[in-house]
């Protein structure tokens, strides 16, 4: 308890709160601008955390993460374009509400539901993560190998439309991760005598390239020329812009249901907030007394989508903290940021670095509170934000990416690495190959290789070790099951297409 209070005291320092609120503002703005994503925002800010201690770093990154997801709903409601893919389902009812002059009500409901979703998932994170870690502590190399194999496979299988392409992206991540010193014997691999590659590719330039730079290249295709026009947030009738008790009474069940669904989706690696928002929306429509109003401007629809997508934010940290498995892109980026701060995720974190765990819980809760405060205070400004031209924003962001990558080790080499992965990421996107599995595989490659080689050394090269331990066998069965299920689903949808 004392430790918890100490960490609370640390976070509540003036400078940390200032960073928290500034990051919340930036997160909402970035989320609100179509084309800028939460991934990009968090990736861009990771280089800054090198110069901070753990508390301000967490304040910055979690505030960006939570508020960025909510920010996506602003443009979904005002311009019918989700600022982040996670808010795609919000457009279905948010924009019709805005056209009816109820943009204020829709935005307030989005904010309220996002807050509830976030808080429910944090509560579940606190309850579940430590218990899961206690189980994971019993894992040996064989169990760890099969668990990581399961995580790698499921991320690849579920990340994109094509299972094979998702897995291909993962295999590319594994290959990229082999550059640098071998983790067990320190033998250099693929370094070509370059000192810069002795430790492998730097994580931050790689992720900035894959997510931010490749996104900018994609936006450059139309010379960043698409103009966006938002609807007015204010209505002549003020009652249209208030969130009433009647609205909350109508939506509270939906919010709780969607939050639980979002949390469940968040715990599973590789699925993410986009799927969660559609699942939450679909389930809310199915369970609603007025399903016919969905799509016409239903406040319940906005609540369902927003509660579900924000519920993912806390839940994705469950596998990250307890098993050291980043479930989606943002947690993969957060994993790197935590490593930079000397925080090693995994089951031992609850024994060795419990102060960091408390700090994570506290900053997550505060990030959600800051999101509500900032969201309500700055609501009238949202319309202007969504209309900022991309042709001005992207060159500025590009320059920040370059300097951010340079600042990691003060090497121009890292900036070229960023650019190279930006080009790779761009062509992967064009080929409909998801980039997230590549990053997650890059992160998981080293622990996977270590566990695999330790298991093989222990068994003197016999693969039987993976088929004799019950936990290892169950992970292998789960892996085969997830692949089989996805293949069956793909086959069914292809047959349906042919029939059509």
């Amino acid at each position: 308890m004392d430790l918890l209070l100490t960490q609370l005291e640390v976070v509540l320092q003036g400078s940390n709160l200032l960073i928290l609120f500034l990051a919340t503002i930036v997160g909402i703005l970035i989320g609100a601008i179509p084309g800028l994503t939460v991934n990009m925002a968090v990736a861009l800010c990771v280089p800054l955390t090198i110069h901070f201690s753990l508390a301000p770093s967490l304040c910055m990154l979690f505030a960006l993460y939570c508020s960025g997801i909510f920010g996506g709903s602003i443009s979904a409601i005002l311009v019918n374009t989700p600022g982040t893919p996670a808010s795609a389902a919000t457009t279905l009812d948010g924009y019709p509400m805005a056209k009816q002059g109820k943009a204020g009500k829709a935005l307030r409901m989005a904010l309220f539901a996002s807050f509830c979703g976030g808080m429910i998932s944090i509560f579940i994170l606190i309850v579940v993560a430590q218990n899961l870690a206690a189980i994971a502590l019993k894992f040996g190399p064989a169990e760890r190998t099969t668990l990581l194999l399961f995580a790698l496979t499921i991320v690849g299988v579920l990340s994109g439309k094509s299972m094979i392409k998702g897995l291909l992206a993962g295999s590319l991540g594994l290959i990229v991760a082999t550059v640098g010193a071998d983790p067990m014997l320190a033998v250099p691999r693929f370094t070509f005598g370059l000192l810069e590659l002795e430790d492998g590719f730097s994580y931050i330039p790689l992720l900035i390239g894959l997510f931010a730079i490749s996104e900018m290249f994609q936006q450059a295709e139309d010379r960043m020329g698409t103009r966006i026009k938002a609807v007015e947030t204010a209505s002549s009738k003020s009652k249209y812009n208030r969130l009433t008790w009647a609205d909350i009474a109508l939506s509270w069940k939906t919010i709780i249901r969607s939050s639980l669904l979002g949390t469940f989706v968040g715990i599973l690696p590789g699925i993410g907030a986009t799927v969660a928002c559609f699942l939450g929306y679909g389930e809310a429509k199915r369970a609603s007394r007025n399903p016919e109003l969905f799509g016409q401007g239903s406040v319940e629809g906005v609540a369902a989508s927003e509660a579900a997508n924000n519920a993912v934010t806390g839940a994705t940290l469950i596998p990250l903290l307890s098993l050291s498995i980043p479930g989606d892109t943002v947690t993969a980026i957060l994993y790197g940021a935590l490593l930079i701060q000397g925080v090693t995720t995994g089951p031992l974190i609850f024994q060795n670095q419990i102060d960091a765990v408390y700090l994570i819980y506290i900053t997550l809760i505060l990030a959600n509170l800051a999101m509500v405060l900032v969201g309500y205070s700055f609501m009238p400004l949202f319309k202007q934000v969504t209309e900022i031209p991309r042709r001005i924003l992207f060159p500025i962001i590009f320059v920040f990416c370059v300097i951010g990558s340079y600042s990691i080790r003060n090497m121009v080499f890292d900036v070229f690495v960023m650019m190279a992965f930006g080009v790779i990421g761009y062509f992967m996107r064009r080929g409909m190959i998801p980039v997230a599995p590549m990053l997650i595989a890059f992160i998981l490659a080293q622990p996977f290789e270590e566990a695999l080689r330790q298991a093989l050394v222990g068994s003197e090269g016999h693969l039987g070790i993976f088929f004799t331990q019950p936990i290892a066998v169950s992970f292998l069965v789960l892996t085969a099951f997830s692949i089989g299920l996805t293949m069956r689903r793909n086959l069914k949808s292809r047959n349906a297409k042919i029939r059509d």
């Binding site: 295999s171 590319l172 691999r189 001005i392 320059v399 600042s407």
Partner: protein, 162 residues
């Protein structure tokens, strides 16, 4: 040739090159550094790269097979597939970016950054010269102040160092 077929070929080629030419470059000197008289089992540093490239090779073959089986049935070509998109602006943006990075050590951040920003603004048809000047210089000053002064990152000085 369908898009997936081309992707399959590309990845298969990469995996083969990696296995045949790249992985053998990993030295085997570590074998000599083991204790002479004691024999113990260990796994070569080449093992994981071979495994990763092998997985990629198998997946590429599966993608090739899938695209062949799909045959003449139309693939899911999105409306903005590579054949329909404009690559020129992307290449120009890449060119400006690479030029900027290459120029950083010689021109320094204070000179290269406003030039890069102005070039991007101009190319993407934002041509209000007053704003271009203000934004290019303003952003550079903010970057310099934040990184060099607040975070103590020694940014490349280039021309200004002389």
């Amino acid at each position: 040739m369908s898009k997936n077929f081309k992707i399959g070929i590309l990845f298969l080629t990469f995996a083969l090159i990696w296995m045949v030419f790249m992985v053998p470059t990993i030295g085997e000197d570590w074998r000599q550094s083991t204790i002479r008289d004691i024999e113990f089992f260990t796994v070569s540093p080449r093992f994981f790269p071979y495994l990763s490239a092998g997985i990629m090779g198998i997946l590429s073959l599966l993608l090739l097979l899938e695209s062949i089986l799909a045959g003449k049935a139309k693939e899911e070509d999105p409306p903005n597939s590579p054949s329909k998109i404009q690559l020129k602006p992307v290449l120009v943006f890449m060119g400006i970016g690479i030029g900027y990075i290459a120029a950083l050590p010689f021109l320094g951040v204070m000179v290269a950054t406003p030039l890069c920003l102005a070039a991007c603004f101009w190319y993407f048809k934002f041509r209000r010269w007053g704003w271009i000047l203000l934004l290019s210089i303003g952003v550079t000053v903010i970057i310099y102040y934040c990184f060099e002064k607040l975070m103590m990152v020694p940014l490349p000085q280039g021309l200004l160092e002389m």
